[in-house]
Symmetry: none
DNA sequence: CGCTAACCGAGACGGTACGTCTTGTCTTGAG
DNA sequence: CTCAAGACAAGACGTACCGTCTCGGTTAGCG
């Protein structure tokens, strides 16, 4: 029952560095846009060496994706759990849509990177597609009885959101309302 | 009454070069992926000088987008007109979905470029979003009477297609069938 | 009257580590060349931590120089003492020249490092220049009576040897014979 | 009788860039020392792109060597021709020795680089060893009749100069005088 | 015996330079 | 004025090595 956590030899990884890198990556992406962010600028802002980035991530895309995913976990998924437990689809959609306004542009670019890198794609799915689909599936459970129909609805709602995001169309409460309305 | 077509002075633009560039851009994008294509590789393959590319297009993204759009017009929009005139939604969706398998990956990347360049975004909309939406709007005219509901449906169907494309999910006849089924 | 060797507190320096480091530095330098040797590769081969290198030497150049100097003492200076005592200039030159074939390339590199680091330069002088000059001075004592002329001869002979070494020219017995011949 | 100089197609190499690069490389090497010079700092100072350096030279060592060789041709070999034609060994040595004070430290480093790169070594020979040896050979022609003895003397004088250079010893007129004196 | 001090291996860290790659512009002669 | 060819400035990329720092663990003398 005791903890068998044995530390490997050598200097342990610096969590401070990890956090500083992800933080710098997040804010630079939000403020300057994905293309203007550089591995070097991240390293500089984080007070880290460039090699430290490449030791733990395969490249810029992975770092930014990780940074966005962490913030999404903290700020989006956590607060959204209440809406999911309450079964309030409208509230959930409002929240989910609002959350996308900041990270949307970066997600578009990561979609592009994902074409050439399957790891990026699967990470993108795991962090930014499946969580919302799972939530929608849960929230539609009572309203839609047929599983296949429900799945199609999930895809349609999730797809409509992604589409607006990628095309730069308005993502506001009105859009959330329209989506809910169309289900009646 | 004679033809008022006066030629500007100097050597006229070479249509052969234009076609060779678009052709090279198209095939390299399909075969190697957007990121592996470079302005230099396009110029080389087209037997063109790099300056000729930049004389007529603002950059790589615009060239590839133009190349994809041209092929799409030739191979997709043209054959699809029959389905639209016949009002056959199912046939239209089958065709539209099939057409995306080749150019899909490149469109993802262009989505990324579009974040930093509004011209790319509007070109992307004009060539690859609005045509399909217009077709869907027409095809849903009889089935769905409410204009707002119809618009939401268009967004949902178009969004579901984009979503599968961007996530690399299967885009096949079964998916077209599911979409049609869900409208009943 | 007892030994005043007072040990400092703490764990004493490991002679085994010191020897392993110098040995690894020597052989890697001989076999791969100075530039291909890394502080990390030395540490690895010696089964030592990198900090142990930097605790006792100021950097890579100093380690390699130390390693070469130690081997030179063991294999060159010691056996050469016989020739010096016997006053046999020809035998001494043959031995001195033969000894350079292995460590020559590394000495060239250390010459480069010495530009930026005076400590390296003075160490280089002390280990690889002055011993030979002292020996030559001794061996020329009877042949050349004028001290200034003798000094110039020492510089000329030592310089000719260094020159061939640095230029990668042949350093063989014929060269030793030519040098002796020119003194008659 | 007409000039058959046909230009290859494309933009010709910019002599301005070439000169600016060599100039920047020369002065930075003299003022900061070889190790402190960077391909990037050369490019920056020359107003050139880094790729332009690597298009025409294989690396930093080759650039610096070329820069030093060019200056040596301009400032050393040219003015020295008078002394050679006049057969004035003493004047030649004074000039040759004076010229080394500036570029000496850099040559030491290039000697080090030459270990790993035969091209650098042969370039070093061609620009900085053979010219002086040829001059010495010429100047000793009358004084020393035996060809083998003359060759040994050339090596000894050249070697003594190199030796002082590499060891950072004084290279002044007194040294030139001593060398001449020892030949009598 | 425990305590303190300096050592040891391992390996992550910040930093710097390298050489490659791509973009978009500029400069030739030819058409 | 356009075209092919290709050199140019700019600057991001990912790699390699350097010398430092941080762990857990070891080995001595001293109390």
């Amino acid at each position: 029952m005791n903890e068998p956590i044995i530390r490997p030899p050598g200097r342990p990884r610096s969590e401070a560095s990890r956090d500083a890198i992800l933080d710098a990556a997040y804010w630079q992406t939000i403020e300057r846009g994905y293309h203007a962010v550089t591995t070097e600028s991240i390293a500089k802002a984080a007070g880290a060496g460039k090699q430290t980035l490449y030791r733990w991530w395969p490249g810029k895309a992975a770092i930014v994706l990780d940074a966005l995913a962490q913030k999404a976990r903290e700020r989006i998924d956590r607060p959204m759990e209440a809406a999911i437990r309450a079964g309030d689809l409208h509230a959930y959609l409002r929240g989910a849509i609002a959350a996308l306004t900041t990270i949307g542009p970066a997600l578009r670019c990561l979609m592009g990177e994902a074409q050439a890198d399957p790891d990026i794609l699967s990470s993108l799915r795991g962090h930014f597609v499946e969580p919302r689909c799972n939530a929608l599936r849960l929230l539609l459970e009572q309203r839609v009885t047929s599983p296949t129909h429900r799945e199609t609805l999930v895809e349609a709602i999730d797809g409509a959101i992604w589409r607006r995001l990628l095309l730069g169309d308005r993502l506001d409460n009105a859009f959330a309302a329209v989506l809910v309305e169309s289900l009646k």
